[in-house]
Structure formats: C-alpha cells, structure tokens
C-alpha cells in the first residue's frame, strides 16, 4: 500500500514537474489569430467595441483630469471632430478595449507578441525577457511600451511610457500605468479571449479604473489594411496640379 502511494505521488510529481517545465519552455496558450468583439449567441444586437454611445458609468477623474477633458471637449464639440478623422489611432487603453469595433490580429512568438488593431493600423508590441529595453530608452507614444510575462496560463502585460490622451473615455496622463490580464476560454463553441484592464494614474484618477473586453476567434479571419492618408495625399496632388496649370500655359 505504501509503495503504491509512493508510486502515485511520484507520478503526480513528475506530471507537475513536466507541466512546469513545459510552461517554462514556452508551451503557453496560443493567442495567435484574428479576433472580433465577442457576442453571446442570441444576444441583442447592441453596441460593442470600445466606442459605443451607450451610457457608461462616470469615472473617478481628479479635478485636473476633469478640467483637461472639459477644455478638450469645449474645443471639439462644436465641430464634432475626432482624432480618427485625422487618421490618428485611439491609443491605449482604447485600442485594447475594442478599437472601434474593428477586429484585431495577434502574432505570438516566445519573445514578442504583436497585436495589430485594424482601425488605423495601430500596432502594439509586447516584449519579453531579453527583448525588454531599459526605461530610459523607451519612446513614449499613444500605445506606450508594453512588457509581458506569464502567470501560469495568464498573459500579463504592463504598459507605461504613454502620451497624455484626453480624447478617449479612459483619458490618462503620461504617468498612467496599465496592467492587462489575458486568458483563453471556450464559450458556446467559440474560442474566447478575455482581456481585463486596470489603469492606475493618480494624476487623472482618484482610484484605479478597470474594464473587461471579450473577443471571439474568427476562424481563418483576416485584417484589411487601414489606409487612411492616401485620399489626403491624392487631394494634395490635385491641388498641386491646379497650382501648376497656369504656369504650364
């Protein structure tokens, strides 16, 4: 009996060690593929994505944040202009929260995960291990600099070095830090990717703010190139042609 118990213990231990080793060797959940906003079967056709017009709870902005947002809104409200109208992507965390309802593609390799959001072709690169560069060398931008790590089967991404953005729901200062936790599951026959986001930004928020976004896999899906500047360039060429016309005569 004792020997049998010991054998079982050894087998269990071996499995545990093997599993840990497999994870350590990069046998991680594979997030690769094209994903679109998750919608439960039979769910009413409502607003999805990250930019819906449905009423949303107020966020705990600091007075500083509220003032900056109000000033921005006073500028753009009369014309209704948006960054997207100028071919500018949403930036984090709006990009990871739905990217305007457009799909996204994830390309995964052990040392880097690349996320492409179709809208405005926003791209994020999540670096691991030796690919991570010193903070002083990171270039601040709208999607920040992202570092990834694995906690079991959960992908944890920490993002900082963000530009201040007041044009999205989760406005933030350049001091914001965002933690995302990605997990895979199976729901109603669909492969589902759940992304939980928590943003900490004492300059803009009295308390951390959180949001969850669910994506479903699009089998054999693909993204389209989001070319936004070509019409502007074509119009400029037409202007140059008109300007050159009198000189040619």
């Amino acid at each position: 009996m004792f020997q049998k118990a010991m054998t079982c213990t050894r087998v269990a231990l071996a499995i545990a060690v093997f599993s840990t080793a497999a994870l350590a060797q990069g046998n991680r959940p594979d997030f690769s593929g094209v994903w679109t906003t998750y919608r439960a079967p039979g769910a009413p056709q409502g607003r999805g994505g990250g930019g819906g017009a449905a009423a949303q709870p107020a966020l705990p902005y600091t007075p500083l944040a509220q003032r900056k947002i109000d000033e921005y809104q006073a500028l753009v409200r009369p014309t209704g202009e948006t960054p997207g109208g100028y071919c500018l992507g949403t930036g984090m965390p709006g990009s990871m929260l739905g990217s305007g309802g457009y799909p996204m593609e994830i390309i995964q390799r052990p040392d880097q995960i690349t996320i492409i959001y179709e809208a405005h072709s926003e791209i994020r690169r999540v670096y691991f291990g030796s690919r991570v560069i010193p903070v002083a060398d990171r270039l601040p931008e709208r999607n920040g600099y992202s570092v990834g790590r694995w906690e079991g089967n959960t992908l944890v991404v920490e993002t900082a070095q963000l530009n201040e953005i007041v044009s999205q729901r989760f406005a933030h200062s350049d001091q914001a830090r965002i933690v995302e936790r990605y997990t895979l599951s199976e729901e109603n026959g669909q492969k589902v990717l759940t992304a939980e986001m928590t943003m900490t930004d004492p300059a803009f928020y009295k308390t951390p703010v959180s949001e969850t976004k669910k994506w479903s896999m699009v089998p054999n899906g693909f993204l389209m190139t989001y070319e936004c500047n070509e019409p502007i360039w074509q119009k400029r060429i037409e202007e140059l042609k008109k300007a050159a016309a009198p000189a040619a005569k």
Binding site: G49, A53, T82, T90, G101
Partner: protein
Amino acid sequence: MRSVRIAMAGMLLLVMASATTFGHHSAAAQDFNKRVEVEGVIKFWEIANPHGRVVLRVTDQKGTRDIEFETHSRNNVYRAGYRDGMVKAGDKVKISIAPNRDGSDGGYVTGFVTAKGEKVGMGN
C-alpha cells in the same frame, strides 16, 4: 446572398459600435435609432478611410438639390460586400441613412441598393 446578408448585419453592428468613435466628426449629430431611405443620382462617390463621402442629386417635396452624406470606413463598407466599380457617377442609388438630428439634409449612410439591385449594408 446569404453571406452578403451576414456581412450586412456585421456592418450594421460595426456602424452601431464604432460610428461614435471614428470619423472626421463624431456621430452625435446623427440619430442611429432612426433609418431614412433616400433615392438619388450619384454626383460624387468616394469610399475611403476614415470615412467616405457621397453626394446625391435628390428630388423630393423640397425640390431638387445635391445632398452630401457620410459613409462608414472603406474597410467596413468592403466587409459589407461593397467592391470598387459597383456604382459610378450618374447611377441611381437608394441609400439608408441615420438622419441628422437637427432635421437638416444629410446623414450617415448605413447601407445602399444599387440600380442593379445589389445591396450593401441594408437588412433586406
């Protein structure tokens, strides 16, 4: 046709989802809970990102005039089944729009039917 209808439904969802986020202007000026159909002759037709622009010559009780409409992005219109060359200036077209809240001419195109009966974006 079934795949086109599915694509249309997808496009409508995308319109609902993202119209308020992407574009030269926010969609606050349009009422996406309403749909109005407008028939006219194409004067200008540009499907582009971030938004397209359509000008139709429309004749109705108010008379004949050119009305400008905004469309969703080229990506989403393509995903809904649109292809270059499907329509051209001078063609008749029937569009479905989310009308301007203030009642003025124009709105946001959520789908259309070409003179040949090809449908993009509309449910039926």
